[in-house]
Amino acid sequence: MAYETIIGLEVHAQLKTRAKIFCSCSTEFGGPPNGHTCPVCLGMPGVLPVLNREVVNFVLKTGLALHCRINPFSRFARKNYFYPDLPKGYQISQYEHPLCEAGFLHIDLDGEQKRIGITRIHMEEDAGKNIHGEGSEPFSYVDLNRTGVPLMEIVSEPDMRSPREAAAYMRKLRTIVRYLDVCDGNMEQGSLRCDANVSLRRVGESAFGVRTELKNMNSFKHVEKALDYEVRRQARILDEGGSTVQETRLWDAERGVTVSMRGKEEAHDYRYFPDPDLVPLHVDAAWIDEIRATLPELPDEKMARFMTAYGLPRYDAEVLTVSRELSDYFEACNSVAQAPKVVSNWIMGDLLRECKGEDEALAQCPVNPDMLARMIQMIEQGTISGKIAKTVFGEMVKTGKTPEVIVKEKNLVQVTDEGTIAELVDRVIADHPEQVVQYRDGKEKVFGFLVGQVMKASRGKANPAVVNKLLKERL
C-alpha cells in the first residue's frame, strides 16, 4: 500500500536573553544548583511574574523573520500540572492568544524549494530539572536554575511529507534563529528541542490519519531516524489491516525504536486559563517597526545575493549561508581575494573539513579570512601552486603563521624558470626510457605519470603548466 506521510513539528527554542522571562535571574547555563533563583522563579507564596520585554523582542524578531502576523493583543495563560521541577504547579505559557501566527519558511531539497507553514509562535517559561541518585541511599533533588528561562514554541503546519523534509525544516529553523541571534540552536544541549506529530494516509486521501506525537529526539540525525522508524512502524500496522492509536511515543536512540509513553486517555488536562497575574500584551506598529529595523539579512536573501553578486552556484550559496559566521567569513575573505568561486571552494573544502562544520570551531580556527585570502592570492599570482597551497593551508592551521612566512620558511615558492624545469624534465626522460617509448607508441596515459615524476623531482614546486609544456616539447 502506498501512503503519504504527514509531519508537523513543535520546536522549543531557548532564548538567549540575559535574564529569565519573569524575573531578573541569570539564564546562564550551569552554576551551583538553585544558584540562579529568586523567590519569583522559585514560586514562593505571594510573588508575581513581571514580563521581561527582551523576550518579546526576541520572539517578535523570529515572528517577523518567519513572515508571521504579529498579534496586537496577546496574553499569557497558565498550563496546570504537577511535577517537582515546576515550582508553581503551572507553567506560564500562551494559549488562546499567541504573539505570532500564520507564518512560513522555505526549505530546499535537491534544489527544489518548498514552503512550510508556521501555525504560531508563543512565549513560555522553561521548567527546572530533577536529579535522581541511585544506590544504597537513593535521592531525588530539584535544580531550579533553568526554571523561568524563556522559551519560544514554534508550531508548524502539518506540511512536511517526509522525514527528510522535517530534518530540512529543523535545519532551516536553526539557521534562522542563529542568524537572528535569539537562540544558540544546540539540539544536543537542549537549547533547541523538537516534538513531531506523525501520521500516514493513503495516497489520494484528504483526511488526516491518526497521529502519534514523538518526543526525545535530540539531534538532527535523530529527528530523521526517529521519524523514519515511526513512518515504517505505522505503515506496517496499516498494511496488516490494523489501525494506529493516538499516543505519545518516545524515541529510544540506543535501540533505534519509538516506544509508547502515554495514550490518549492518560493525556493531561492542563486546564489552561488566562494568567491573572500578567496583563495582556499590546504590541503596536511602532514596536514592530523598531524590531523590524534590527533584522539582519536572512539566509534566503543572503543566498540569493551570493548567487547574483558573486556568481556562485546555488549549492555553494546555500552552504556558505548556512550560518552568519560562515557567510561573514566568505565575504571577508573574498573582499581581499576577489575570486568568489575559488574562495568558495577553499571554504567548502578544506576550511569546513577542518572545522567539522561547526561555527565555534570556525571562530577559533587559526586561519582567519585574511590569511586564506592572501594564500589564494599567492595561487592566483602563481607564487605557489594549488597543490602546495594544500600544504600551506595545513601549516596555517597547525602553526597559525601567515602564508607568506610559511612559504618562505619552507621554501615553497613555485618554480617557473624554464631552464630549471627543463633540467628536471630531461632527467626524468633519461630515467624512464620504457615509459617514453610507450608514450611515443601512443599510450597517452603515461604522460600523466611523467608529469608526476617531474613534480616529485621538484618537490611539488614546479609550475605544472610549464612542466606540461616542456615535457610535450621534448617527447
Binding site: 514560586g43 505571594g46 508575581l48 486546564r271 486559563f273
Partner: protein
C-alpha cells in the same frame, strides 16, 4: 490614659508634640493584646518585646511620616521577611518568607511598627475566620459571634484596640464585611491601586490589600502609604496617588448618591435596612442628591465569583505540593503519594472544596460553560456599575445583609456562608473601590456596616463621602466593652 485607644492621627500628634514615644505606645498596645487576646484570639503571632525594642531604635528624622512609630497589625497572608506567614493554614505553618510584601516594605519605610500577624480564614477562603487552622477569632462585641472574614483577625484587633490600625485583603468582601461586623472602617481599594506583591494569592484577579482602621481619616492615611505603582506587580496601575487625608472635607453638597435597589431587597435584616435609610436621609440632608439605580446582574454575582475565584485558587494553590517549603507528609511511598497526602493533610476542608470546584470549572469540556461564561457575566456586572456611575458619584448600600452571625451557625452550610458576601462580591468582580463604615447597631448591640462604592481609582470621593457621614455621627467612636 490608655494609649492603645489612639488612632493613627492621635498617636502621630502625640509623637510630634513629644507627649509620647513609640516604645511607650508599642508597650501599651502589647499590654492590650495580652489583656484581650485570650478572649478574641485576633492574632496568629505577635511581635511582643521585639516590637518594643524596634520602636526604641526607630531612626529619628522620619517623624513627619504619619505612620512613624505607629503599631500596625498585618493579616497573616502578607509576606513579612523573617516573620512567619502562615495564611492560617497547616500547609504554611512554619513558612518564613525571605522577602517583604510591597505594602510591608512601604510601611517599614514610613516608620510603622508591626504588632503581629492576624488571623484569617485559611488562605482567606471564608467569611468568619472559622476555616482558620489557628482557631476562630471572636467578635469583640459578642464573643459568641464571628468577627467576619476573611480579615477577621485584623478587624477584631482594631475593634478591640489591640493595634492602632491593620492591613487586610479583600477578595470578595474580606476587608469590608469584617469591618462591618466589628464596627470599624475597612477600605478595599480599586484593583491595581495597591501592589499585590507579597500577598499570598487566593484569587489574583479579585483581591486587593487595604486598611482596617478606627476612623475614615486613618483609612485615608494608611491607603496613601501603601498605594501606588509597583514594578513587581504588573497588575498595579501607574496612576498618581492623591493626598487622600488632605482631600477629606466632609462636603457632600450636590454629590450624586445612587442606591442599588437590588441591595435592599429580601433577606436584609430589618435593622440593617433602617440604618441604611437613616444614613441616606442624613446625607440627603447634608446636600447630597439621592436616587435609586439598578445593577441588573446582581443575582449572578455570587455564582460568577465562586467560579472565577475558585478557578484561580485551584491554580494558585498548586504550589503547595510538599516539594519546596511548607508541610510535607512523611513517610510516603512515591511522588504521587507525597502530593496527595501533603495536600490532603495540609489543607483544610474549605480550601479543598474550593480547589475541587475550581479544578472542575477549568476542566476540558467544562471551561466554556463555566469559566468563560463567568468571565462574560463579569463583564456585564462591570457594565452595570459603569452605567450607574454615569449618573452617580458614589453608590450606597449595606455591607452585609445581616449583622454578625453566631460561631458555628453557618459553618456546615457553605451556600449560606457564601451568600453573606452578596453585597460585597460584585465590587471585586468590577474592580471598583468600596469602604465599609459603622452606621449603627442592631437590637442586640451588634454593629451595622454602611458600604460606599466609587468609580475606578476614585477612592478620594468614596473616602470623602464616608468622612461626611462620620463627621455627622458618632458610631465610629463606640468601642466594645471587653
Amino acid at each position: 490614659m490608655d494609649l492603645f485607644r489612639w488612632t493613627i492621627q492621635e498617636a502621630s500628634a502625640a509623637f510630634r508634640e513629644g507627649r509620647c514615644i513609640p516604645a511607650e505606645l508599642m508597650a501599651s498596645v502589647n499590654s492590650r493584646i495580652e489583656a484581650v487576646e485570650d478572649k478574641i484570639h485576633a492574632y496568629v503571632s505577635v511581635a511582643g518585646d521585639a516590637a518594643v525594642q524596634q520602636a526604641a531604635s526607630l531612626s529619628a528624622g522620619n517623624e513627619a511620616s504619619p505612620l512613624w512609630g505607629v503599631p500596625i497589625a498585618l493579616k497573616d497572608n502578607l509576606a513579612t521577611r523573617g516573620m512567619r506567614t502562615t495564611c492560617s493554614s497547616k500547609i504554611l505553618e512554619s513558612f518564613c518568607p525571605p522577602y517583604d510584601a510591597t505594602v510591608v516594605s512601604r510601611l517599614r519605610g514610613a516608620g510603622a511598627l508591626f504588632s503581629g500577624k492576624t488571623n484569617l480564614d485559611e488562605f482567606a477562603m471564608g467569611s468568619s475566620t472559622e476555616t482558620s487552622y489557628k482557631g476562630t477569632t471572636r467578635n469583640p462585641w459578642d464573643l459568641t459571634r464571628i468577627p467576619g472574614g476573611s480579615s477577621g483577625g485584623s478587624a477584631a484587633a482594631v475593634a478591640a484596640d489591640a493595634c492602632v490600625a491593620a492591613l487586610g485583603s479583600d477578595t470578595g468582601g474580606s476587608i469590608r464585611q469584617p469591618a462591618a461586623h466589628c464596627g470599624i472602617v475597612g477600605l478595599k481599594p480599586t484593583y491595581g491601586r495597591v501592589s499585590r506583591f507579597g500577598l499570598v494569592a487566593f484569587a489574583s484577579s479579585l483581591e486587593q490589600i487595604g486598611p482596617l482602621t478606627k476612623d475614615v481619616t486613618d483609612a485615608a492615611i494608611l491607603l496613601k502609604a501603601i498605594a501606588g505603582h509597583d514594578h513587581r506587580d504588573s497588575t498595579s496601575v501607574n496612576v498618581p496617588v492623591p493626598d487622600y487625608p488632605s482631600l477629606l472635607n466632609g462636603d457632600v453638597q450636590d454629590m450624586r448618591i445612587g442606591v442599588p435597589q437590588e441591595y435592599l431587597q429580601v433577606g436584609v435584616q430589618r435593622e440593617v435596612r433602617e440604618a441604611i435609610r437613616n444614613a441616606l436621609d442624613l446625607l440627603g440632608a447634608a446636600g447630597a442628591s439621592i436616587r435609586e439605580i439598578s445593577l441588573p446582574h446582581t443575582d449572578y454575582a455570587v455564582s460568577t465569583y465562586y467560579i472565577l475565584a475558585t478557578a484561580e485558587a485551584s491554580s494558585n494553590l498548586a504550589r503547595y505540593d510538599g516539594v519546596k517549603y511548607g508541610y510535607r507528609a512523611e513517610p510516603v511511598e512515591d511522588l504521587l503519594d507525597m502530593y496527595r497526602r501533603s495536600r490532603a493533610e495540609g489543607f483544610g476542608p474549605e480550601v479543598k472544596r474550593r480547589i475541587m470546584l475550581g479544578t472542575y470549572a477549568l476542566s476540558s469540556g467544562y471551561y466554556d460553560a463555566y469559566y468563560r461564561k463567568a468571565q462574560q457575566v463579569r463583564t456585564l456586572i462591570m457594565r452595570d456599575f459603569e452605567a450607574a456611575f454615569d449618573v452617580c458619584d458614589v453608590l450606597l448600600a449595606p455591607t452585609c445583609p445581616t449583622t454578625a452571625f453566631r460561631i458555628g451557625e453557618k459553618v456546615n452550610d457553605p451556600l449560606q456562608m457564601y451568600l453573606s458576601d452578596i453585597y460585597t462580591i460584585s465590587v471585586n468582580l468590577a474592580g471598583i473601590p468600596g469602604i465599609s463604615i459603622p452606621c449603627g447597631f442592631d437590637g442586640q448591640g451588634l454593629p451595622i456596616g454602611l458600604q460606599i462604592l466609587g468609580k475606578h481609582f476614585d477612592e478620594a470621593t468614596v473616602l470623602n463621602a464616608a468622612y461626611a457621614y462620620e463627621q455627622r455621627t458618632d458610631w465610629h467612636g463606640q468601642r466594645p466593652a471587653l
